[in-house]
Symmetry: C2
Subunit: 245 residues, 2 copies
DNA sequence: GCGATGTTTCGGCCGGGACCGAAGCGTCGC
DNA sequence: GCGACGCTTCGGTCCCGGCCGAAACATCGC
């Protein structure tokens, strides 16, 4: 008795959809558009066109394809069409692709002008990433305010008091005493975890509120202000060198 | 004074490499190959060719492209060429793409033959995923053995004793008392977290050792054995229905 | 050495898709 | 209503890349 195996590709039905999603990301222009949308804000089709360096009609085609693939949603407002990522899961997928791209090729990686700023400090959906984000996570772990391990993170009791003092609202008091309300998010540029989850979002909100960081105009880069520099040093023990190597 | 902005796409230098990586995944055949490699084991080029339903020479081209993109590595052993994922980060990226693909299109998603088995129970790099994996995580959380929140997970004291009794070795005793040694991994088919990290890997090892689960021959699907069925019910309170809807 | 087997390279075919110019449609401001 | 503006559709060009057959190369068993 011979077992007959169908010769054609039937092993993974979902592979097709994965391929569709990946192919929808797998174009330089579309990838740039998606990365510009990673902060969760919506952009108009025209903004994305100039960002990609293409004409409006070509951008329209790209956007249609990304809508089709379920990556972005578009809604009309007047004569503009606002486009945003359909779900934080899309941003997470992009981050993980960036992580793969960062480890993969020691080949020519032409670090562009704003690339340095992105590596320094940027938003990752709703929280802080980049060198500053990783340094902050390290400092909080060093001081026993959070515990990082195995891609997960956890707020300690002493950390909870500290964050409360710092003015971040962590929502409802923990029902279970040891609830990890923050998520360790792998940083694509640093290859080390930074803090995400509710805590990461609340911290970034607070930093923006305090004026320690100001968002960049057209990308996800964040600029550290002078009060931010001293604030991070005093409150968190994070010294930010002026220019990294 | 007018600020001149370069019209071409310079906003994100890393966008190109992200696009390269995504494009390397964005082909049905390559995606199927990568998903077959997600268990971390290596396959020969020929195996991947028949899996993709293509000829050897076409598969060779696909593999060359994936090597170029830094997704897989290949090493020769005799007249075979073994291919494996270059890093667990690649598997993580594929999982996150699957998550996006799962939420995105309510369109035609032709669930293939082995797709049902994959949804039921499969390996996710080195731990258990699928309906069974999610149910296990739920049961452990319900019984207070782990705490799940915000994409992170944490073993409780009572859980630590339980896992020790169950025969899984969690490695060195925790230096910090509240170390989260497991990771909550978002399940693409269930859209709910399952247990990864060291704990997830140790549990899967133990299940295989006990013969509760047996690995599928050619894909990542896992088959639940009769002792497994009763074992999951008795030890974890997880009842596995025979055929899900 | 010689054939069998696994894998790659070469050459050619062909379709998809990225791009733009021109034109069409809807919306805003006057 | 009319032009300006934002966006999409249509038509056409062009090139990338997926596919295979044939052949070359490497390795194993004899």
């Amino acid at each position: 008795m011979i077992e007959v195996v169908a010769p054609t590709t039937v092993a993974f039905a979902s592979a097709n959809t994965v391929a569709e999603v990946a192919a929808a990301i797998g174009d330089p222009v579309r990838a740039a558009m998606l990365m510009a949308l990673m902060d969760g804000r919506a952009r108009t089709a025209g903004e994305l066109a100039v960002l990609g360096g293409i004409t409006a009609q070509t951008a329209s085609g790209h956007l249609a394809r990304m809508v089709e693939a379920g990556l972005v949603v578009a809604e009309k407002q007047g004569r503009h069409r606002y486009v945003r990522l359909v779900d934080p899961a899309v941003a997470a997928a992009l981050e993980s692709l960036m992580a793969v791209a960062a480890i993969a090729p020691p080949r020519h990686r032409p670090t562009g002008p704003s690339d340095a700023a992105l590596r320094e400090a940027r938003t990752c959906w709703d929280h802080l990433a980049g060198r500053l984000g990783v340094a902050l996570a390290d400092a909080l772990a060093r001081d026993g305010r959070v515990v990082l391990a195995d891609g997960a993170a956890l707020v300690t009791d002493v950390g909870e008091a500290f964050f409360c003092d710092f003015g971040v609202d962590l929502g409802r008091p923990p029902a279970a005493s040891r609830r990890p309300l923050c998520r360790a998010c792998l940083d694509w540029s640093e290859r080390r975890p930074h803090l995400g989850g509710r805590l990461g979002a609340a911290l970034l909100d607070r930093f923006l509120e305090l004026g320690w960081l100001v968002p960049g105009p057209r990308d996800r880069a964040l600029r550290l202000t002078p009060p931010g520099r001293s604030g991070f040093a005093e409150s968190f023990g994070v010294e930010v060198s002026r220019a990294p190597t």
